[in-house]
């Protein structure tokens, strides 16, 4: 399946992926309306230090520890994409405990959010990929992880 891959060689730490992610998942049509005067809470995060930077978001593991560990059944794997049903999530943080990449984080309401490859919003191609100016985040089919 197509996955989001990150090539840190080309990451500029511009953080645009985070903003495009937050926007895509806001449900708003205007980025200004969606994000102005907000501290954004995106599903992708840049780690940066000493000139190295890269974006981290859900890897959509084939053996997803988060899904297997989810106590409520809110996390599931559909066609390889790991989805979260926020209606079922009770915010127990077992997924945070399980994810080896730190790719799941809480929303403001306490339930969890994670990258769903923009399959549940209007973006189409993942917004972080579309928004990356330097091809550091790509959406490709490369076999298994």
């Amino acid at each position: 399946m197509k996955r989001v891959y990150v090539n840190e060689k080309w990451c500029l730490a511009c953080h645009l992926c985070e903003y495009y992610c937050a926007f895509a998942n806001s449900g708003e049509k205007s980025m200004v309306k969606a994000l102005k005067n907000l501290k954004i809470n995106p599903r992708i995060h840049i780690e940066e230090k000493n000139g190295i930077s890269f974006a981290v978001s859900c890897r959509h593991c084939e053996e997803p520890l988060c899904v297997k560990g989810c106590i409520s059944g809110a996390l599931s794997q559909k066609d390889g994409v790991i989805l979260i049903d926020q209606n079922k999530c009770v915010g127990c943080y077992t997924c945070v405990l399980s994810c080896p990449y730190g790719a799941i984080s809480p929303t403001e309401t306490g339930v969890m959010q994670k990258c769903e490859l923009c399959t549940t919003n209007a973006s189409g191609t993942p917004a972080c990929v579309k928004g990356c100016p330097n091809g550091a985040i790509v959406f490709e089919e490369r076999g298994t992880v």
């Binding site: 974006a55 915010g91 077992t94 997924c95 405990l97 730190g102 490709e140």
Partner: protein, 412 residues
């Protein structure tokens, strides 16, 4: 092939999904002594708290059995397994044969023998949906609730019913709450949080006897109550297999393929004991993620695959009144305390490995520490100072990041 699964919780469901990964058409019979569609046991406190409901707490969707072609037999308690004939018998007299069998019978609450307990009017345990519903039924706004045991179940129960009753007292033999997962330094933080929310904690005490709606404590204190919930612990349900001849310790003994000592019989979940790689000891790790993975492993192997699950560790994510904590592993070796700004972070390491951690408050990306324990990553191979400060992939080698984030395959 015909598979029989006893148990309808995480391990049983994991087994169904494990089988279906390999064989879409094998026959599967799933028997449960409960009458419910599969639901999440840990969610019963959330149910009482109102954070979920009967519909949402279903562990899998309504069409789960149908979609997975599972013959679901609710309310069928299995009373006998005959490994020689590969047959089981249920309480209702139904007999079924199997090619492979999973025993995921779970655990049962342990109730200490205490004088006068039988006379208590409203005595409950708290591990099944029926328990929760019964407790809910009994609670009134005026109820004074006494919870025996300040472990995970007792405290979650306390949190769950906090707004449904007048007064909650939690008693524990230990000198602190959550004594199995928190140390003396960190437990008071949770205790404080509970007390802020009106839950009284009585440490180092136990009930000597129940009389007339009062608990007479060993310390001499007398606690009047309307409702009693006993949460001192659970015992693996091993009887069925033990009788059938399987090796058992505290729990049913299984290997990393979830195999028991009996041919074609697997076991998974709270009824088993397995190796905790963080401590190197056999333990009953009654944790949902563990149960699922053991069940799934059993399922794959029952379907003819070869799958092992060999990195079990104790781990817990739990929160009370918005204060979250995540713990994992064992608390051995040297301690690195990175607590700051009211957030607790204690890392325990030994022999170049992270052995365990306790985080309270900011638990962001805790899974990265879990991975260090689970995957036994040598700390010398990463920037431990950095990762201790901030969990992240930055502390790993570029090669690791290229593989995990970049999808780069080295060595091919």
């Amino acid at each position: 092939m015909k598979h029989i699964i006893i148990g309808n919780s995480a391990a049983g469901i994991g087994c169904v999904e494990g089988i279906r990964r390999l064989h879409p058409d094998d026959e599967i019979y799933l028997l449960s002594d409960e009458k419910y569609h599969t639901y999440s046991r840990p969610l019963i406190s959330y149910l009482l708290e109102g954070k979920t409901d009967l519909e949402r707490m279903k562990y899998r969707s309504d069409d789960f059995y149908e979609k997975n072609k599972v013959t679901f037999m609710p309310g069928e308690r299995v009373v006998k397994i005959n490994p020689a004939t590969k047959k089981i018998t249920t309480e209702s007299g139904t007999r079924l044969s199997y090619d492979d069998l999973l025993c995921a019978t779970g655990s049962s609450p342990f109730i200490p023998t205490t004088p006068g307990y039988e006379s208590v009017q409203n005595a409950f345990t708290f591990s099944s949906l029926d328990d929760a519903l019964a407790l809910q039924e009994a609670l009134t706004e005026e109820s004074r609730v006494l919870i025996i045991g300040a472990g995970l179940i007792g405290l979650k129960c306390a949190e769950g019913i906090r707004d449904l009753c007048r007064k909650i007292t939690v008693v524990d033999l230990a000198n602190r709450v959550l004594s199995s997962i928190l140390d003396e330094q960190t437990a008071p933080i949770i205790q404080k949080k509970l007390e802020e929310n009106g839950i009284r904690f009585l440490p180092e005490d136990c009930v000597a006897s129940y009389k007339n709606g009062e608990a007479h404590m060993k310390s001499g204190k007398v606690i009047p109550f309307d409702i009693l919930v006993t949460c001192v612990g659970v015992r693996p349900n091993t009887e069925l297999l033990k009788t059938a001849g399987a090796k058992t310790g505290k729990g049913i003994q299984i290997d990393d393929h979830s195999r028991t000592s009996l041919p074609n019989i697997y076991a998974a979940g709270d009824c088993t004991e397995c190796l905790d790689i963080s401590s190197g000891q056999q333990k009953v790790l009654a944790l949902l993620p563990n149960a699922y993975k053991q069940g799934e492993t059993a399922g794959i192997n029952m379907a003819g695959g070869d799958h092992s699950f060999k990195d079990s560790i104790p781990m817990n994510a739990i929160g009370f009144f918005g204060l979250h904590m995540i713990t994992a592993g064992t608390y051995e070796g040297s301690v690195l305390d990175k607590s700051e700004n009211g957030n607790i972070k204690k890392l325990f390491y030994q022999d170049d490995l992270l052995k365990g951690f306790i985080m309270i408050g900011d638990v962001d990306k805790a899974g990265i520490y879990t991975a260090l324990i689970r995957e036994q990553i040598p700390l010398s191979s990463i920037d431990f100072d950095l990762i201790a400060q901030t969990p992240g992939l930055m502390a790993f080698s570029k090669k690791y990041r290229d593989e995990t984030l970049g999808g780069v395959r080295y060595g091919y």
